[in-house]
């Protein structure tokens, strides 16, 4: 009974109209970024640029100091990649052990991580800042990698341990019978099988770390090693309503994540709707 009728066509057209309104901000974003300064005050905000050029992008990418966008981009990539590596390494092994152990402490550890997921970060921010400063970890990419790994580790462990619980132990049993040691079982049997969970962890952690502003503002604020959001915040703070330049940097910051999303959109959406169910 559910056939493609005229009503369905109407529904399809209606949703496309809604989508166009919904995505209107991107129209303003792109058109404004391509307008040279001279056009900003002479043309309507709704109009297309008359002589589109990339001068705003050049200006943004050559800025220096604590609004050095290119350096911010590089730092963001290093910090995001480093945190993801840390989260996969620690998250998978911890999640594995607590999901396979039948001892009582493992259940306690599971709840320890579960509660840590919902503890809001602001309360611990200043003590962490004090500790990091005492250890010389503020203002460095390393410090932030350690910090993000610790902050997102409960989420990573939670996703991995739920994955391992659903996996069953048949392969591991077979490997045990064949005489594999525990570390061989983990590296040769479990590691190759956990790719789906690793994908989910990578997407969540990657998005959160890449887009995070609060933590990097506090821990890198004032140093030369900014992440992209902080560099963007300072850069925009120095521009008073120069929207064409502001939007050039906004676009630069969006391109990597948008490219990744369009490339792997199915995985992203599955991660969000599936991973959330635990």
């Amino acid at each position: 009974m559910f056939r493609y009728t005229k009503l369905t066509l109407l529904r399809e057209i209606g949703l496309w109209a809604l989508a166009l309104i919904f995505l209107a901000p991107f129209y303003f974003l792109v058109t404004t970024a391509l307008k040279p300064d001279s056009e900003m005050y002479t043309t309507s905000p709704l109009a297309l640029p008359k002589n589109p050029d990339f001068s705003n992008f050049v200006a943004v990418l050559t800025a220096t100091g604590n609004s050095n966008v290119v350096l911010g981009l590089v730092n963001s990539i290093i910090i995001t990649a480093g945190s993801i590596v840390g989260l996969i390494a620690l998250g998978s092994i911890t999640g594995y052990v607590i999901s396979r152990s039948t001892r009582r402490w493992s259940k306690g550890a599971y709840y320890l991580f579960l509660i840590a997921i919902i503890l809001p970060g602001q309360l611990g921010a200043v003590p962490l800042y004090m500790g990091a400063r005492a250890m010389g970890l503020t203002g460095s990419a390393w410090g932030l990698i350690v910090l993000y790994t610790g902050m997102l580790l409960p989420l990573s462990i939670f996703l991995y341990s739920n994955f391992f619980r659903g996996l069953g132990t048949d392969y591991e049993e077979a490997a045990t019978i064949d005489g594999a040691s525990r570390s061989q079982i983990f590296s040769k049997v479990v590691l190759p099988m956990m790719a789906p969970a690793t994908g989910t962890v990578t997407i969540f952690a990657g998005l959160i770390v890449w887009n995070d502003f609060f933590t990097s503002l506090i821990f890198l604020g004032g140093s030369a090693n900014q992440t992209l959001p902080v560099a963007m915040y300072y850069y925009i703070g120095s521009l008073v309503s120069e929207w064409n330049s502001i939007f050039a940097i906004v676009i630069v910051s969006m391109i990597p994540i948008l490219a990744l999303f369009l490339f792997a959109q199915k995985r992203f959406i599955q991660g969000f709707s599936g991973g959330l169910k635990g």
Binding site: M1, Y4, E12, L15, L18, F22, L23, P25, F28, S44, L46, L90, I93, V97, S101, T102, R103, A109, L112, F113, L114, A116, I117, I118, L119, P120, L123, G124, A125, V126, P127, L128, G150, L153, F158, T169, E172, E173, T176, G179, S181, R182, I185, F213, F214, I218, P229, M232, W243, F247, V250, S253, L258, F261, L262, Q265, F272, L276, K277, G278
Partner: protein, 319 residues
């Protein structure tokens, strides 16, 4: 991200009590009883890191909520004084009500919008996956970056006012984000825009689980569109609603980045939230005790809703 709990899998495997693993390269002992998977100490680095970064730091932060520490130097324990100050300071009280208003408002509108889009995309649409990708796009983008775009759109010389003037409604034009009455509503629009796609994806997953046959049977029995939605679809997606709303509230209560980009809490504190106030008190104004007290209030509110989420999702084992 969520905290949906699962019952421990199957029955317990044979106990592993206190056994040491056979060393690498050793021949397996055929008589060894049960499985021995992993060493408990493999979990140690993760547990230590989480305890240090989450529990110890939060505990210390919670302790400072009862002091007058400025972030450096010595301090005194002042009891509940910081909390009393919150309820006497109109800016902080305003931050509390703004936080609740924005969290609940964005969840309500974002979920209704997400549900409508998900229902629209649900069956037979040829371009549903393209549309789904488009509606989901704001979710992956940085809230800070998208907020700047919205700041321009609501600017006095920005597209909205130009549009209103061009259709002859120029007297409705106003400095949206600089107007104490309208600023918080403007922020709400931005938050709803950012969260609708997220709710949509969860509802689409929920709707995919509603069997076509039941809907068809209801239609054959003469149920109209609303009756079908009310009596067939809605009960089936109740778990999805529970997840989408509680996650949205927990997320909405922490709102920080869009505020910093859009209004920085202004005009005159009209859009301050608990998170922006925590940041300003603790890091900008050097009132760490007060900031920690606010953070503790925020933490208590978030934990409250997270516990409700646990209850809701656990009572639906189907999910």
């Amino acid at each position: 991200m969520t905290a949906t709990m699962q019952p421990k899998s199957e029955a317990a495997k044979a106990p592993l009590r206190g056994r040491r693993a056979p060393g690498e390269g050793e021949t397996p002992r055929p008589r060894s009883t049960g499985l021995q998977l992993g060493h408990w100490w493999w979990a140690l680095p993760g547990i230590v890191l989480v305890i240090a970064i989450h529990y110890v730091a939060t505990g210390i932060g919670g302790f400072f909520a009862f002091t007058n520490w400025t972030g450096i130097g010595s301090f005194k324990i002042v009891g509940w004084q910081n909390f009393e100050a919150i309820f006497k300071d109109p800016t902080k009280l305003g931050a509390l009500t703004n936080t609740l208003f924005l969290a609940f408002g964005s969840v309500l509108l974002g979920n209704v919008g997400g549900l409508i889009i998900a229902l629209g995309l649900n069956r037979m649409l040829k371009t549903r996956y393209i549309l789904r990708t488009l509606f989901f796009m704001p979710v992956v983008l940085s809230p800070l970056a998208t907020a700047y775009v919205w700041k321009y759109i609501f600017d006095f010389d920005g597209p909205i006012n130009v549009f209103l003037t061009s259709i002859g409604a120029g007297d409705l034009a106003k400095p949206w984000l600089a107007d104490p009455q309208w600023a918080v509503w403007t922020v709400l629009v931005v938050l709803v825009w950012g969260s609708t796609g997220f709710a949509m994806v969860i509802f689409m997953a929920g709707l995919a689980g509603v069997p076509v046959e039941v809907e068809e049977a209801a239609a054959i029995d003469g149920a109209n569109l609303w009756q079908r939605f009310r009596n067939v679809t809605l009960p089936a997606i109740r778990p999805a609603i529970a997840i989408a709303t509680t996650l949205g509230i927990v997320q909405g209560l922490r709102v920080f980045d869009p505020i910093m980009a859009l209004t920085n809490g202004g005009p005159a504190g009209a859009t301050e939230t608990l998170a922006t106030q925590v940041y300003k008190q603790a890091f900008a104004l050097g009132n760490f005790g007060g900031g920690a007290a606010l953070a503790l209030v925020l933490a208590a509110i978030i934990l409250f809703f997270a516990v409700i989420q646990q209850r809701l999702t656990r009572s639906n084992p189907e999910d």
